[in-house]
């Protein structure tokens, strides 16, 4: 069953109150999030700016900054755009005012909970998924409320076919739900602490399947939907090519989900997964640029408006930054480029081009267009908005250029070798000192961008000052049900059969068997010819093509979208989940990689809580320069018991995978209390509070028991005697330090952290 419009009309009053609420919070949280980002950036130049306060320290506030910008600024902006455009494109009010309120206020509650817990060190330490399990549950509840409201609205729509913007919203809602739930599967051990069910390489793969696609389906697809609605509105021109938008949508949602492993190139992740990540990242160039061109070409015949309209300026620059970011992303996924850029500030440049340029400018353009209309007035000052645009653009470019230079400098210095084969820059301090000017330039660029944001806030407030919101009521033809092809018939149809056969053939092609690959290639060629033939004969005026029918069936459309995004996840994640963990054994039959001792496990939790992974990796890549600097490349089994993995993604400090035994306990003691006592140029924060804080030994056995439930081979007696073993190991460390005049309690958090650091890399090599 489907529907058609009738001569009966119905009045529709749009719910713009929710839209105004989301805009307000996006602007407000954006200001907070960027202020925190600026403070974090300044701390890299002036590490004393944490004032030795744990909750103000870089490693804790950097996740706060990223979460605030991603989920609070972009999240609220996305919801505002979705609520406004969905109602107008479907010609109906949102289905439930109550669910809209639950969504609006529930999301702000989540943001507040994140703002409180992250500085307190309550974290899962997985990037963009730091929030602990109670907040994760809140996210799920609020997201379900949003989804129910959205799909309910689709069900009561008064427009038969769903516009491309709605497709992107559907993909966002479904995929984010899938990603978030899978990546946050965890075993709680307390109200503020849990261990993820995945470990080591599997955790890394799952995390970056999530992390990369948080960028894809939270920061990209909804904003593309917003682009497809608001850009034509602002330009007063139809979308350049609707067919291109079809290719853009299906190409993007299918390919994006595979690209996660490009965050793990040259790590211990199996090579096949790395190759898939790189290959699909390169393929992303096509749909991404197709979408960008579709956006920019929508302005054909209206480019003169860009000169005078600040809204179009922001949109054009935003879409251009999207093009730049989606060019740079695949570029960085090429393994040889990644070898230079990974772990460096180049990645920071890349993500800020996307966040500030694409997300931030699309948000600003949308707000400047939307807010005056919501209040039935004109923008207070176009000149001020223009100034915001130019100062923001300059700020982004300054930021990105500084980080590009800093990143490439880092990459080159790390690998530089003398003619005698030694490292040219063996001291980490030399590397840090070289980029300090770039860190300052970055802070200046960020400040300019933030200043622009502040001007926007003033401009919007001046626009709405003294005005009442406008209630928009329209009369639309009511959509009535008539008989059309069922969802099942549309799903089990020729285009789907061709797509499925193409996927299967593609997988078989990639298995590595030459004969099979050749046969599959010929088969794929035949499929493409067949598809082209069918498309040629089904396209033209008056012909009802398959895609046109699927656009009128949200259920079928949603199912197909879900299938398209699930394929990549299943192929990449399932093999690791179903294969038995094979931890090598030593000649004496022991595990080559022993589980952490109770004290080391507690120290690891301190490491996670303080966010050490923000600046330190634990993954030595198989390069000569890394071997010289850090030691043997990391092996997959070495993190087999790590819930969560700590491979990291950025090296503001050196890799720690084999730091165990490199320095004495006293060195770590002094270094943690004040890094600059030992390394004058260090920009690492001091962690003096760790010395006085005590490990909660009453909880240690619970932690070991939880780990055992997750598959870590602790024996029952080890769990029972965890507290005693912890104190015994701590006492040995404390006695050694006391002998050097450094007093430290056996159950101090610093003792535990030292034990953990000294353990890193101390694994036997397996015999099997």
């Amino acid at each position: 069953m489907t529907s058609t419009t009738s001569s009966v009309t119905v009045p529709v009053t749009y719910d713009d109150k929710s839209v105004r609420g989301f805009i307000f919070f996006s602007v407000f949280w954006g200001l907070i999030g960027m202020l925190v980002g600026l403070l974090a950036a300044l701390q890299l130049s002036f590490p004393g700016l944490n004032f030795d306060l744990p909750w103000l320290t870089f490693s804790r506030i950097r996740p706060l900054h990223t979460n605030a910008v991603v989920f609070a600024l972009v999240g609220n902006m996305m919801f505002a755009g979705i609520y406004y455009s969905t109602q107008r494109l479907l010609k109906t009010r949102m289905a439930s005012d109550l669910l809209s309120k639950v969504h609006l206020w529930g999301w702000q509650l989540i943001v507040v909970a994140a703002a409180v817990t992250l500085p307190l060190g309550i974290t899962q330490s997985k990037e963009y998924a730091e929030l602990e399990w109670p907040i994760d549950l809140m996210v799920v509840v609020v997201w379900v409320a949003f989804a129910v409201n959205f799909f309910w609205t689709l069900a009561i729509r008064n427009e038969r076919n769903i516009y491309v913007a709605i497709w992107f919203y559907i993909a966002t809602i479904l995929t984010v739900a899938m990603l978030y739930i899978v990546n946050n599967l965890a075993l709680p051990i307390a109200g503020t602490k849990s261990y993820g069910i995945f470990a080591g390489g599997q955790d890394a793969l799952t995390q970056w399947w999530y992390g990369h696609n948080a960028v894809a389906f939270f920061l990209t697809t909804p904003i593309l939907g917003i682009m497809y609605y608001f850009l034509p509105k602002a330009a007063e021109r139809p979308v350049y090519s609707y067919r291109l938008s079809i290719v853009h949508f299906w190409g993007l949602v299918f390919i994006y989900i595979w690209a996660g492993p490009h965050h793990l190139l040259y790590t211990a992740l199996p090579v096949w997964a790395q190759s898939l990540g790189m290959l699909f990242s390169l393929m992303l160039w096509a749909p991404s640029w197709g979408g960008m061109l579709n956006g920019l070409l929508t302005l054909r015949g209206a480019w003169h408006k860009v000169r005078t309209d600040p809204v179009l300026k922001f949109f054009v620059a935003g879409v251009t930054f999207y093009g730049m970011s989606t060019f740079e992303g695949p570029l960085l996924s090429i393994k040889s480029v990644n070898a230079l850029g990974h772990y460096t500030d180049w990645i920071i440049a890349h993500v800020h081009g996307g966040a500030l340029g694409w997300n931030g400018f699309m948000a600003a353009g949308m707000f400047y267009w939307l807010v005056p209309r919501l209040f039935g007035t004109q923008l207070h000052s176009r000149g001020l908005a223009d100034f915001h645009f130019w100062i923001g653009t300059f700020g982004i470019l300054l930021y990105m250029v500084a980080m590009w230079v800093g990143g490439v400098t880092h990459g080159l210095m790390w690998r530089a070798e003398n003619p005698d084969g030694g490292l040219t820059y063996p001291q980490w301090a030399e590397v840090i000192e070289a980029v300090l000017p770039m860190y300052m330039l970055r802070s200046i660029g960020g400040t300019l961008y933030l200043l622009g944001w502040g001007l926007m806030i003033y401009n919007l407030l001046a626009t709405v000052r003294g005005r009442q919101p406008v209630a928009v009521t329209v009369t639309v033809p009511k959509l009535e049900s008539t008989a059309l092809p069922s969802s099942a018939r549309l799903i089990f149809s020729t285009p789907i059969a061709i797509s499925v056969l193409g996927c299967v053939a593609g997988v078989l092609f990639g298995l590595g068997n030459l004969a099979l690959s050749t046969v599959m290639l010929v088969f794929l060629l035949m499929l493409v010819v067949w598809a082209g033939f069918l498309m040629y004969h089904s396209t033209g005026t008056g012909k009802h093509v398959w895609h046109q029918m699927i656009e009128g069936r949200p259920l079928a459309f949603s199912i197909l979208t879900m299938l398209a995004v699930m394929v990549g996840g299943i192929v990449q994640l399932v093999p690791g989940l179903v294969l038995e963990k094979k931890v090598p054994l030593t000649a004496s039959g022991e595990y080559a990689v022993a589980p952490y001792t109770p004290l080391e496990l507690e120290g690891r939790d301190v490491y996670v809580r303080e966010g050490c992974y923000v600046c330190h990796s634990q993954m030595i890549r198989p390069f000569r320069s890394e071997f010289l600097r850090y030691g043997e490349p990391s092996r997959l089994e070495e993190s087999m018991w790590d819930h969560p993995f700590q491979w990291g993604s950025k090296r503001t400090g050196p890799d720690l995978a084999r730091v165990g035994g490199k320095y004495g306990d006293d060195w770590h003691y002094r270094h943690m209390l004040n890094p600059r006592d030992l390394v004058g140029a260090s920009n690492m924060p001091a962690y003096p509070w760790l010395r006085d804080a005590k490990v909660d030994t009453a909880r240690t056995s619970t932690k070991l028991a939880a780990m055992r439930r997750l598959g870590v081979p602790y024996k029952a007696e080890e769990i029972q005697g965890a507290a005693g073993a912890l104190l015994e190991q701590g006492r040995r460390i404390a006695e050694g330090l006391a002998a050097k005049g450094l007093p430290l309690a056996a159950d101090s958090e610093l003792t535990a952290l030292i034990a953990f650091l000294q353990r890193l890399g101390k694994n036997a090599v397996g015999q099997n």
Partner: protein, 53 residues
Amino acid sequence: MWQKLFSGSEWLELPLVTLVFFVATFVGACLWAFARRRSGHYDRMARMPLQED
């Protein structure tokens, strides 16, 4: 026979053939997307955001 054929050949051209195939698919998709043939449905959908609020 197939086994004999493939075992005796390194088929170094396979990646090139694959590349040509993917480029051809890409070009085909572009031709379809940018084709001048008009469709009333797509034209109407492209104008949907321009309808009055």
